[in-house]
């Protein structure tokens, strides 16, 4: 790889051991993927340091101890416990204290410790052509597809990119990989945000790591709808970029999105395809469930308003548990707007920093036995997101019931599962 003098100095240790370690990792990554050089990045969404994994918080503490600081604006991905209100989720205090240590390390390194999968709702809003990195595939696809920034689906090396301000130039950082591969014809009206999630899950399964170009929306999708679509595409497939002509910079038309290439195949998305996703994630029909969850990915302020509207002056059924998950910055805005009070009066729990699949419910983790983590026996969780549903199944290993947001909240209010399209 060709390095600038500044990059070579980092690699040689002239800027200290943290930058040296980070640059050495990035150079190896760049070689593996044939990158000719590094590119300067403008934003990094980095690893939290996760309390449910052995020595994972220590990964971030070790970097802070080495003197690492973030060279670019940085936000921090979702964590394994609500660091303020862990009791509400039944998490052991030791787990929350360990998670707080990760926050201390992030603060020392100068990352904004957002602990969220939707940092954009918290003000981290990279713009067109900003090279960036993200450890969270939902962030990668939103920033690529809605904002026109340039990001790969990264892992831990998002941290190294943040420390150096550099990333090897390959993948979705290059124009040639930001072209459509599949044309998707949406042949049904979409009635809810969850419909966008179901659409994304359906299409992601078909296109894999391709770049789907969407046609046929009745109107310009809202930011929340685009967020739901992207999160699901990145879950069932390896999609990093989708294109809605007229929405995704810089593509005004489908022809531009394909850049003169002929699409591999056209994919149709009909009502039956969406219904099949709902059915796939409704694995129980005996009416038994333990938790109703909304806010995957972490809710925007607009979504918090909607939950407030649906729950205002009402009360969830006896014995019901309703989780609303959102980032701490959005939670603060919702508190000031009186929304959190409305939700809590209705009996909902507003949880930040984590979510069902990222907390101590998960069974695929390996916490230090000293923390006393015991996953509770859960039978089923009602969700309004195909992403949450997929990982509830894979990580918590319990049944799911996927439905629309309004129907999920109606379920919590009545105590009876309400299928999508059936809300009062």
């Amino acid at each position: 790889m060709r390095l600038t003098a500044a990059e070579q100095r980092m690699l040689d240790g002239g800027d200290g051991p943290a930058k040296q370690k980070a640059m050495a990792g990035l150079v190896q990554l760049g070689r593996a993927f044939g990158a000719e050089r590094m590119v300067e990045i403008g934003y990094a969404h980095i690893h939290a340091g996760m309390a449910l994994y052995l020595h994972d918080v220590e990964l971030m503490e070790d970097l802070a101890e080495l003197g690492a600081t973030m060279a670019v604006p940085s936000s921090v991905n979702i964590a394994n416990a609500d660091t303020v209100n862990w009791q509400a989720t039944g998490a052991p205090e030791k787990l929350a204290r360990l998670q707080q240590r990760a926050a201390d390390a992030q603060n020392r390194m100068g990352a904004a410790c957002t602990f969220t999968c939707t940092p954009y709702w918290a003000g981290h809003w990279p713009t067109w052509n900003t090279h960036m990195t993200s450890i969270e595939s939902t962030v990668t696809i939103f920033c690529n597809s809605v904002l026109g920034a340039r990001s790969n689906r990264d892992g831990f090396f998002a941290v190294y990119a943040g420390i150096t301000g550099r990333y090897p130039l390959f993948g979705y950082h290059l124009d040639e990989n930001r072209r459509g591969t599949h044309l998707v014809r949406v042949d049904t009206p979409l009635r809810s945000i969850t419909d966008f999630s179901a659409l994304g899950f359906h299409v992601g399964r078909i296109v894999g790591e391709g770049v789907p170009v969407f046609e046929g929306f009745e109107r310009r999708p809202s930011l929340d709808e685009l967020d739901a679509l992207g999160a699901a595409l990145a879950t069932s497939g390896g999609v990093a970029l989708f294109i809605v002509p007229g929405v995704t910079p810089p593509y005004a038309t489908a022809a531009q999105a394909f850049g003169g290439r002929v699409p591999d195949e056209a994919v149709d998305a009909r009502r039956a395809d969406l219904d099949a996703v709902y059915d796939y994630f409704c694995t129980r029909d005996d009416g038994v469930f333990d938790i109703v969850h909304v806010g995957c990915p972490h809710a925007s302020f607009e979504e918090m308003k909607e939950y407030g509207r649906l729950l205002d002056g009402r009360r969830i059924a006896d014995g019901m548990e309703l989780w609303v998950t959102t980032s701490r910055p959005v939670r603060r805005m919702a508190e000031e707007a009186g929304i959190v009070r409305t939700l809590e009066r209705a009996g909902a729990k507003v949880i930040s920093d984590t979510c069902p699949i990222s907390c101590h419910f998960a069974r695929t983790v390996s916490p230090d036995p000293e923390l006393g983590v015991v996953p509770p026996p859960l039978r089923a969780i009602v969700v309004d997101s195909a992403k949450q549903a997929k990982y509830v199944r894979d990580m918590i290993r319990c049944d799911t019931l996927l439905t629309g947001t309004a129907e999920a909240i109606e379920t919590a209010l009545t105590g009876r599962f309400v299928r999508h399209g059936r809300a009062a």
């Binding site: 593996a32 892992g155 090396f157 990145a234």
Partner: protein, 136 residues
């Protein structure tokens, strides 16, 4: 196997161990149990086998942005493969996990390699030069 084969060195380093050959793609998020190293995913050719201490050979990685964490956790639990050999370039996330854990990777190994190898025979992998060879 006989002789040696030259692939593309993806992650630097040298290691040797008994071969475990998977016919199917692997996702480190979900297919391998970090607490035991056992393959628990839907991979009929190697289901129930342990990746611990092996040179793990598979055609390609199934995409998951979380793969790095599970590969790194396998290492932290001492249940990791000592080296990885693939036909297609693995995902960036797998590469990042392997660099963190110090697990050499050679990719772009021709398909004929699969037929030229016996399960359990000891091979050496050099992720710096890209060479994979039998050890007598």
């Amino acid at each position: 196997m006989t002789g040696s084969i030259r692939g593309r060195g993806i992650v630097e380093g040298q290691a040797s161990g008994p071969v475990l050959i998977a016919a199917e793609a692997i996702s480190f998020l979900g297919d391998v149990d970090i607490n035991t190293g056992a393959i628990v995913g839907d991979l009929p050719s190697v289901h129930g086998r342990s990746v611990k201490g092996t040179v793990l050979v598979f055609p390609y990685s199934r995409g998951s942005a979380g793969a790095w964490r599970f590969l790194y956790q396998l290492f932290k639990h001492g249940n990791h493969p000592v080296a990885i050999v693939t036909r297609d370039s693995p995902d960036p996330s797998v590469v990042q996990g392997a660099i963190l854990a110090g697990i050499p990777i050679v990719s772009d190994v021709p398909q004929s390699f699969w037929g030229n190898m016996r399960d359990g025979e000891t091979i050496a992998v050099d992720g710096t030069s890209g060479e994979v060879k039998a050890i007598d």
